[in-house]
Subunit: 496 residues, 2 copies
């Protein structure tokens, strides 16, 4: 990385090519929400996007939205979720990295945010998807997308389904979500520029504290100076597509195999923040998944590490399980199950893990696996003995998923690097206030600079505590806050 | 944290109170080495220290030095250590965070660095301390201070003892090391100012790329402007004493119980770097220890987690074991051993862990511990069966430390937060080049700014791969590199 994000000084701008109130960088879920809110507050807004179309990584996702505390759908379906229960769950699952202020605000505003999304036109059906799945492939709405019902969280917070799936068949939530958001941008007449890449921020250093007052963009093979009187909102994704930044900040995350995002999740927004003194936090953390369900029946299986020991309750969320797999000390990781529970794996699974062994009996299977002698048998003897009593005193897997594992049996190879699909993305970013102002290392806000979505470090902060839908919900919610925040920012005098 | 480290502009300095070639901040091991080297290169040097005396955290340590690749002592005692073996070990133990360039240079220059330390007057005896211990309490020199002989490293790099203990009885290496270093500073006539706290860097922004050209210090209740023509070297420790920074950057590390360092390990150097655009890396990482030996006989015991499962080879270095303890999923952690191996624990141990249970038989002990029924018995049955064959196929503990564990037995409670001593310190810091120049996020060096010791992110980068002596050796070595580097830095014109 050369110093290519070094900011330009406003004094060096010979001529401004355009002037707006607010410049929003990135037309994914966060940028769309920021632009809409800033516009609704009366600002003139320009939205620039490096790609040829709107979408960002939000459009690539399932666009489940992790919302609760009593959304319209939760209430309609009889779930009595509360702000406190949602807060307790997110605080517990984000562990020591949790930001109490952001989490509190997110939970308190969650039901309202749902209403706002509906008001934009995002469609939801008043129905539930009651299965254990990574996402609903029907048009049903409400489902569990985290570890709410799994130990230890089930003991720490009252569980409720908080994943809100869009009313669309198949894994098509992301494109639909972004088409609705794009339409909401369009009807407001917000100026949108595609194939416009932001190169550098522009800083006015004439005052004691520098102010971000615009950006240099490249469009039509020409650099253009965009003046933003109220500020710039960086909504340009995380850094999972930037190998150098991954190596610098999150090398352990690279044990996972497939970066998830769009090519512009290259860390440019984070780098531009850093170039003007912003602080970055939680940069080592990321979401990692072992997507072993569907079919949900694989949850009846057990995961064992190189010692032939279990290490997690297998009914936890796939991201929690993926993070646990990566924390094992090396050697193989197998998912062992009855052949009848394996049914559906080859047609329904996203995992792509190869078969490691099979057997009419446990002993036959054990002979095919690379585990210390007798360990798998002992592990299963213990598991089965307790499972037949409907309990798992080791890892507290729910009785719903406990059944003795007896032959014929099969093991699939979940060892990182041996074929299993381990998608990942980053959870670190610019340190921001709850309302989206970017902070420097001392905690002071950088005037005129805002960030949302995965350019900022938001509500979700730990791979082992992640829940599906927190990224799109946090991105759209934090985008709105940043949009409102920049809208009330001091209007700086326009250039002549 | 207010924005108290915000740099001062050189243009705002009404009058310089002093002018030197090089300003070194912090008189611990790194700062002393930097000052000595810069002086030996012909620079005028001022060394400022916030405390009333020299020492820093180096003086609080045992000052073991992790050096190898064929030091004088290694050779004299017949150890055929090589640069490659040392490099392989450090690269493996620092895992994905390892910096190949720094590690290579450290290993290549390691034997020379030992000679340099001897030349300064640091005394070493040509002898070996052959026991498993955290430090030599005799005046013997060479000992194993990492996990070189433990799995998996023993398979990845040829082991050699690389801890070099000073020739002094008791745990007195740190004070002796720093008294020698202070003497080496004194004989050179280097100007030293104690009770002089650096408040802010001073930046000359008159050129295109700002240059660090001095610092504001507070001494004698007065702010003084110190001009440094060639640069400022930050050697002011890590941030383990700064609760706000720990919470911001390394919240998980706070599961450990006792921060190790001196009160000025408050992150000021890192904050000053950040204030001028420096990048920080590896900020979440730290050293953590479960100091369960001496007595070495506790190594015959086994550590079990809340599932009654082992999770590490207990012959690994205490820091590796401590890191593994903190990674367990919660619940108790016990160290279980024969009563005869427990002998000496109460008189020799630093651990302070309470007894969790005792028993004439394993069953009696198990009844006293909070573990799932039958798990401890099963774990010990497996362990003992293999131990009696001299092997540990689960975690590959060396046969030297394998003995069946039979009654009478005792368990000590190593659960974090229940009394056991878990010291910790930080391993993240300013991103620097091998020769100590501070880099910004884009990798460009910040002119006139250097860092060494724990203010920088150096060679040791992972708690679970740490070896005693890497901090003091890295601090003194990186201090020297930074001192040589600032010495050849462009001499900027003096103020009038």
């Amino acid at each position: 990385m050369a110093d290519k994000y070094k900011p330009m000084q406003a004094a060096d701008v010979a001529q401004w090519d355009a002037e707006v109130g607010v410049l929003v960088v990135g037309f994914g879920g966060a940028g769309a929400a920021a632009a809409i809110e800033a516009c609704d507050q009366g600002c003139s807004v320009m939205l620039v996007e490096a790609a040829s179309a709107a979408g960002g990584s939000t459009a690539l996702s399932s666009a489940e939205l992790y919302l609760g505390g009593g959304t319209r759908i939760q209430k309609a379906l009889g779930y009595n979720d509360t702000v406190d229960a949602m807060y307790d769950y997110l605080m517990a699952s984000n562990g020591p990295q949790a930001c109490p202020e952001k989490t509190r605000a997110y939970c308190e505003q969650s039901a309202d945010h749902f209403d706002w999304l509906e008001a934009q036109g995002v469609p939801f059906k008043e129905s539930e998807y009651p299965h254990r799945a990574m996402m609903a492939l029907t048009d049903d709405c409400l489902l569990y997308t985290g570890s709410e019902k799994a130990w230890p969280y089930v003991q720490l917070a009252a569980p409720a389904p908080r994943g809100h799936n869009l009313k669309v068949e198949g894994d098509n939530g992301g494109p639909l979500f972004m088409s609705v958001m794009e339409q909401a941008v369009r009807v407001r007449g917000i100026e949108v520029r595609f194939e416009a890449r932001v190169l550098r921020l522009i800083v006015d250093s004439s005052e004691d504290d520098p102010v971000i007052c615009g950006a240099v963009i490249r469009q039509d093979m020409r650099e253009q100076m965009i003046r933003a009187r109220q500020g710039v909102v960086l909504c340009c994704g995380g850094f999972v597509m930037n190998q150098a930044m991954l190596k610098q900040y999150a090398p352990e995350l690279m044990k996972a195999t497939v970066p998830i995002g769009n090519p512009n999740d290259n860390g440019a927004g984070i780098q531009m923040g850093l170039s003007v003194g912003a602080a970055v936090i939680n940069m080592h953390e990321g979401f990692v998944s072992l997507p072993y369900y569907p079919p949900a029946t694989l949850t009846y299986g057990i995961l064992v590490n190189a010692q032939g020991q279990r290490f997690i309750n297998e009914d936890a969320y796939h991201g929690r399980v993926g993070a646990a797999v990566l924390k094992q000390s090396g050697g193989p990781v197998y998912l062992v199950m009855r052949v009848e529970d394996y049914d559906g794996y080859e047609t329904q699974s996203y995992l792509d893990a190869p078969i490691a062994g099979t057997g009419e009996t446990l002993e036959e299977l054990a002979a095919e696996l690379d585990l210390p002698e007798g360990q798998l048998e002992r592990c299963l003897e213990t598991y089965n003995r307790f499972a037949s009593e409907g309990r798992d005193p080791l890892f507290h897997k729910s009785a719903d998923w406990l059944e003795p594992i007896v032959g014929p049996v099969v093991a699939i190879d979940c060892t990182p690097g041996r074929g299993a699909f381990f998608p990942y993305f980053t959870l670190g970013g610019l340190d921001t206030t709850v309302d989206g102002q970017v902070k420097n290392a001392a905690g002071t806000v950088i005037r005129g600079l805002f960030a949302a979505g995965r350019t900022a470090c938001g509500v979700p902060r730990r791979g082992d505590g992640y829940a599906s839908g927190t990224s799109v919900a946090d991105a759209s919610w934090s985008g709105r806050l940043a949009g409102r925040s920049v809208a009330v920012n001091e209007r700086r005098s326009s250039s002549e």
